[in-house]
Subunit: 402 residues, 4 copies
């Protein structure tokens, strides 16, 4: 970077799990990638003064504020990075776009389709003025995932026939785990469905270039009452002894659905927080007429690729270590075989966001893309409510630029 | 075996894939297991004289016949082993039971619920006269599967929360693969659903001790027209050049469904013949409140077991090599680590069948158990026909003795 | 098989672990493979009348004898199959060859180089009279191993640079496991080295087409005193309580060595009975300038193949399921993905032996090939005795016909 | 961190592969861990002004210098971090210690035993004055490795019987890959042996708490002549066409050796840059009388643990995902299952170094520990030179504080 580099002054709202992950990415991205602009970690926002001050110091932000409106209205902020729970995404994003700030918003875009629509409309309006917006489906930037998409786009899988996607965790199997905000519908919108189901919906649509057209779903809340939390941070939380008052879990613990994709594939999806032993098991397998791919987020440096055009006796799933300089994003990192981790997906996300903003191009996934995911989530919820009857996914007006 | 051993004279109908597998098992079972009766491979039946004569010689049967009624009516036959396509199961089984023969019938029990009901009723009647019957869901006798059931029965998994089961093959991905009998509804009843879907339905119900209560399903026939076969044997077949006449595929290529089990678990099922790269990939994962198990038929000597009662830092999926003398069936075979194959599941099936017949006990799975699987298949087909609407599985009157 | 088939009347000496494995193979081979001769299980020999009578009945042999000289001298025996401990191989084989019987001898060929030399000389003499001989390194006939050899022979690995081979078991980790014959030098010749080390020496030389030219070795006996066995069978044995008298272990528990192959490769070998958790872990990896292969006997249906001529971004170890009809030996068995087991390697061995004998061709591995393995074992033992100094492998006069 | 935090001003010499990795760690460590001192990236040193200026800007250092003596002599530097090739370690470290700077030196400690001895003596002298020193065997701080050591230390593996360790790469298989400094003895000391072999020597001694007492080794240089590089950076390099002049490779391409550990275990070691398909395959397996562990750096978030005290039927290698908050270092990172990468081992190294320096404790591995590794490397080289004869490892006077 030269001293003439353009600077993008970032203001981030939220400092918990996503805030820490984004901070690590903002701090790293220009140290690793050669980009036309340099991110400055200018301002962090949170409601609790002591905590946000501590977060600013610890995570490396120049300053802090307790009022997100202040953050949005400041002239010295170019980018607003929204890392709050889903119930505040819409309000903050709308205000930020109206103020002419580029917006990076964590997924899911919003808690409701209505909010997502409004955000998409605002993003379209702002785009005309050169204001960029992006939704943070970070797993698109895991190199193996980017490579999967490329293989499909290059026709290496032929006609896609099957998608099977699971995102399995087990962090609330214990019925004494407390009722954190992620288990409350008014804060989180939904449970496993929106939190982790959204990831596999976006990822499989991104990789296949196809959209889910309809679903039939079942959801379940296995543990319906939980103790209220004494304190929580990220995914962790504590309870005050056995005498803690309890509250009702208002979101799904698990969601399973079958689906059709608009290119003709059948699909199964499962998102659960009750899959004992599965910690962060986002797994996707895609079968096409010419080949298949398999991805597992717990081994995110690997991609299994089956090429059915090889001689019969030599066909097999190849475990590709996606760490070569020729693989997406990897020339910036370490030599082959020196693996990267979860956080790098955010660094890659910031890389692409910075480049898009600096060069005046729309980053992806757009708010419209994220709205489409929201429409799938909505169809899943509708099907589950109506006894698993088939639910068509409502079409978006804007074509996704996946 | 002493010369006083009771002899069970077996007559087998059919000599293709299943016939060869059963023959290998009948030939081996008394050489490996110490049993109260000895199977004699007395008679094999097929319609083509030359072929059945050759099969008798090759597979090791004392004699052959071209008329299954002849086989059933002979006094010197104690057991009728039915290895034909599903459309003849009912007729042969009913006649055999009426003739007082013990019957072992390949799965699925029948092509329709009606046939399966009639067979179950006949089996119940025959049971009163000491005539035994069993349906050949051989995978129950893979040692790792038997062990899975034991772990669940012992409470090691706690409350079952999730079942995910796939049975994936890829033998008809090529659209030029011919229209063999397994692709014809009148012969096979259904496609992937009844052929391989039936296996994962039975296996997961057997392991969990729970029954599927309802489903929502999607099925698809990806390749709707295929050339007629010149010749076929087992799963292999040939076509006469590019000029072969074509016919319509009348069964499903793939079936996917979500389900609820009567013990409260959510489940996903997928059976497909279009999963490129997956050859015989019956995979089952079961998550409970205390642990999880994973099984893969392509690595049938292994069982992955996650025990959530272990110390947190040491929890992990343990790859258990199910080849110890203490494991089900394995004391009869080789030292630890010397693996067994697919065919051994049949040898174990024959072992249990012989023992049950010789000791006057009902073998499992019974025809009633198999009828219940048929009722699940029927619910899946109904749901798929009705646009994935929820279909309850019709209850059986007889409690399954799984 | 037609009634005109040539019959090969087999007499087998020994009925323990190897006897059972060979019996299963002799019983099966003509039922599965179409061969120019049919094996008849004519006669089994053991010293204990009651036990051998029981074995004959259980394993399916027509008759039994307690005198191996009787077996060898009978006119109605064509093939002598030697399944005894190594200390009797030479005497039996020499007598059998002198009597004009074709000989199949279990590995290792003998307990000493001198015996192996005598046997090889006798085999050469007998060959002139059309008498065939073969040493039973059965793992050569695991389809994945045969395929490995073919890949190397076809140049797919380029110049071989590295061989790493381990054969790890753990059946005597318990110091109370008794002093069975395999732990006695006068019976077994050596310990892990000759029992399982011999397998990886033969297998890697077979696959690479290169011979070990020199070694530097370390051997160890971790548990030097053990209780005498009350009874033993195969690898299992029992002890009479805690008061059993003890004896000295006179063989190695583990042997490790580095080696050079005559084609320029470096190699490491390890054979151990003290590798806790490893049951039958014969693992081989071979790296060449153009590719690599990996094999694991506990997953014997799989071969990992890395093809470095593929595009950089797509290179990876492919897990090939060696169950296609196009794979070695597999067209005789089940459809793709339906795996075979340990015992099938013997069935394939008998297949090739029968074919060679019936068509008048020398089967491999010859006694000369097995002598060469013995010379490697000898070099390992010499190096270990001389403080790991480098030991050249003595050349054989006859070129191996691997 | 509060404003009263102690600051450690770091000066780093070198800015290539290790320099980039260390920078990422210095930049991150205080953002993630709560430590008694804060590292300041004060000064970076390199010989090429333009390149070091660029590196300072890119990697985030306050200033740069082209003279490492200047760096060492400045008052405002507390820590000297040596990331240069091995031939300059001794000179820089000795000067830094003499100047009273705490020293972190990359591995291997030096190119010769003599240098390592001098450095160790200097470190011992400096220690008396409160000056700390540490050698950067970063893999000790991979959480799964730290956990392995703890399991052994807790007696969970019982008596260690076997160690097998490989560190396999393939980056110079291509004979046209140029003669970079790592292939020159005067710069690098040795080839695969010191570069990657040193890692597995240190790691296995650290984990087992045992030292290698003697070795028998073979080394090889497969490609003896290579083109001179036009430009190189990290492990990558380019050549000017086919006409480039060539030079002689003066280091080993691969080193294999058998060893005895002073606690009674047998071991095999292999380090190679010619293992096609293996990118960064540091793999270690340790077998003890009560259990075994397996580690693979390409899947560094996983540890396989076999606990032989479990019931026989449930024993198996457990794949532990070492990402729980209870695992070493992991509470600072992401939720369970969100994996970390290669670079995190350096962040953990800096964490422990900062803590040790700030609290006045000696960090490990000490220079004495690293000298002991050097003595093993020396024994390997001696054995290889003397035709694989056994070479005892020279004892160190100071007991290692592993």
């Amino acid at each position: 970077m030269s001293t003439n580099d353009k600077e993008l002054r970032v203001g981030m709202v939220g400092y918990a799990f996503m805030g820490a992950a984004h901070s690590q990415a903002w701090r790293t991205v220009n140290r690793v990638f050669d980009l036309p602009a340099r991110a400055r970690m200018a301002l962090i926002c949170g409601r609790d003064t002591a905590k946000v001050a501590d977060a600013a110091d610890r995570l490396g932000w120049d300053a802090y504020t307790t009022d997100w409106r202040d953050l949005i209205n400041r002239d010295d902020i170019d980018v607003v990075d929204i890392c709050t729970p889903g119930d505040s995404h819409a309000e903050i994003a709308l205000a930020a776009l109206a103020a002419g700030k580029h917006v990076l918003c964590e997924k899911p875009l919003a808690n409701t389709v209505e909010e997502a629509r409004a955000m998409t409309a605002a993003a379209d309006t702002a785009r005309a003025a050169g204001v960029r917006s992006m939704c943070g489906f970070n797993y698109r930037r895991v190199p193996a995932v980017t490579m999967m998409r490329q293989l499909v786009a290059d026709g290496r899988l032929g006609v896609i026939r099957h998608v099977r996607a699971t995102y399995l965790q087990d962090w609330i199997v214990d019925p004494q785990f407390p009722l954190v905000w992620r288990l409350q519908k008014d804060r989180a919108g939904s449970g496993a469905l929106g939190d982790i189901g959204a990831h596999i919906i976006d990822l499989t649509q991104y990789v296949t270039g196809q959209r889910i057209s309809g679903v039939s779903a079942v959801t379940e809340t296995f543990v319906k009452e939980r103790p209220l939390p004494a304190e929580s941070s990220g995914l962790a939380a504590t309870v005050d002894g056995q005498t803690a008052p309890t509250g009702t879990v208002t979101v799904d613990d698990a969601a399973v659905f079958v689906a059709r994709l608009d290119g003709g594939a059948l699909a199964t999806y499962e998102a659960s927080r009750f899959a004992t032993g599965r910690k962060n098991a986002l797994r996707v397998e895609i079968n096409g007429s010419l080949g298949s791919v398999v991805f597992d987020l717990e081994r995110l440096n690997e991609l299994e690729f089956y090429d059915a055009t090889r001689p019969t006796t030599e066909q097999g799933f190849s475990r590709i270590l996606v760490t070569e300089g020729e693989h997406p994003y990897m020339s910036a990192w370490w030599p082959p075989g020196h693996i990267i981790g979860y956080e790098h997906s955010f660094t890659h996300e910031m890389r692409d966001f910075i480049e898009a903003v600096a060069t005046g191009v729309d980053p992806t996934p757009s708010f419209a893309d994220a709205l489409q995911v929201q429409l799938v989530l909505d169809a899943v919820a509708r099907s589950a409510e109506l006894g698993s009857s088939w639910a068509e996914v409502e079409p978006t007006l804007t074509a996704a630029r996946v």
